[in-house]
């Protein structure tokens, strides 16, 4: 038998298959959108974390300055 044999599908099944494919397309679109939203949220989260880190570094810098100024006489 040849690999390239034609495949025949029943008309009723064919319509079902088309419907299923349509639904699958829709679902795939939704999934892609959801994934995009998750990516955006991840980027936002990373940005917030960076901001957080920046603030912490700033606070530690200022505190070390104050600490050195307060205890320089010791």
């Amino acid at each position: 038998m040849d690999k390239n044999l034609p495949v025949f599908v029943k008309i009723a099944d064919y319509k079902d298959v088309l419907d299923v494919v349509d639904v699958m397309k829709q679902k795939l679109k939704e999934t892609t959108q959801t994934l995009g939203r998750i990516k955006e949220l991840k980027i936002e989260e990373d940005r917030e974390l960076q901001e957080w880190e920046k603030n912490i570094v700033e606070v530690s810098r200022r505190l070390s300055f104050i600490d050195s100024a307060f205890f320089e006489n010791e």
């Binding site: 038998m1 690999k3 495949v7 025949f8 599908v9 099944d13 079902d16 298959v17 299923v20 494919v21 639904v23 699958m24 679902k27 795939l28 939704e30 999934t31 959801t34 994934l35 939203r37 998750i38 949220l41 991840k42 936002e44 989260e45 917030e48 974390l49 901001e51 957080w52 603030n55 912490i56 700033e58 606070v59 200022r62 505190l63 300055f65 104050i66 100024a69 307060f70 006489n73």
Partner: protein
């Protein structure tokens, strides 16, 4: 006669005692207040102080806040100090004066050159810390949103898997065995058979297949099919 004589003697003795009486001030606590009442003289112990309905209560207890700081009072009950008598106003005023004067007289000070600058730095630090807290709140919200989106994604993927299964069901079933049976065109180059020695592994207790296992299985199945098609 004897009775009359006795009465006269009694009257005499009472008069004598009354004359000798020198009233002494004694503190008696009556209904929470310190009352001053006349008492009998020491010389005549027979007489006792006469009070109208005396109600003797426990001595006045100082407020607990006076004994220990408020923070410590929460952890353990302060021991009340019993006072025998209220302090006069003058003494209290003196104590207050001392309390006010003490910190200044005993403590040392360190000179700061630029106090405003330090203050500014401290305030800036506080501001940054508040920013950090704000960030924390934002991140928490973002993560909640992300979890929600991931839940949606999981549902979508499950639906897609189900649809794919349905799609495969609708397609005609045909035997793919013939693809494997087809003789290869280049018969001359046959790969040498390599003897493989199977090592028997001890039987592991089978656990229930998880979602991951099922996915792995279906993935392997698809890969096998793909290999047959190539």
């Amino acid at each position: 006669m004897n009775k009359q004589v006795n009465k006269a003697n009694n009257k005499m003795s009472k008069n004598i005692i009354k004359k000798n009486v020198q009233p002494k001030k004694a503190k008696m606590i009556v209904k929470g207040k310190a009352a001053v009442k006349d008492t009998a003289p020491l010389k005549a112990p027979i007489l006792k102080p006469v009070l109208k309905n005396p109600v003797i209560q426990a001595p006045i207890i100082n407020k607990p806040a006076m004994t220990k700081p408020v923070k410590e009072a929460s952890s353990e009950k302060p021991l009340p100090i019993q006072s025998t008598a209220p302090k006069p106003a003058a003494v209290k005023a003196d104590i207050k004066k001392k309390k006010i004067d003490d910190p200044d007289s005993d403590s040392y000070f360190v000179y700061l050159r630029n106090p405003l600058e330090y203050r500014r730095h401290l305030l800036e630090s506080c501001r940054k810390i508040l920013f950090c807290l704000k960030c924390d709140q934002k991140i928490t919200l973002i993560r909640q949103k992300k979890l929600e989106e991931m839940r949606k994604l999981r549902i979508s993927v499950k639906e897609l898997i189900y649809l794919n299964k349905k799609f495969n069901e609708k397609l005609p079933k045909y035997n793919t065995g013939f693809l494997e049976e087809t003789p290869s065109k280049d018969k001359g180059v046959l790969p040498k058979k390599v003897k493989t020695v199977e090592v028997k592994r001890p039987m592991e207790p089978k656990s229930e297949p998880t979602e991951m296992d099922r996915l792995e299985e279906s993935l392997a199945n698809i890969e096998r099919k793909l290999k047959t098609l190539q």
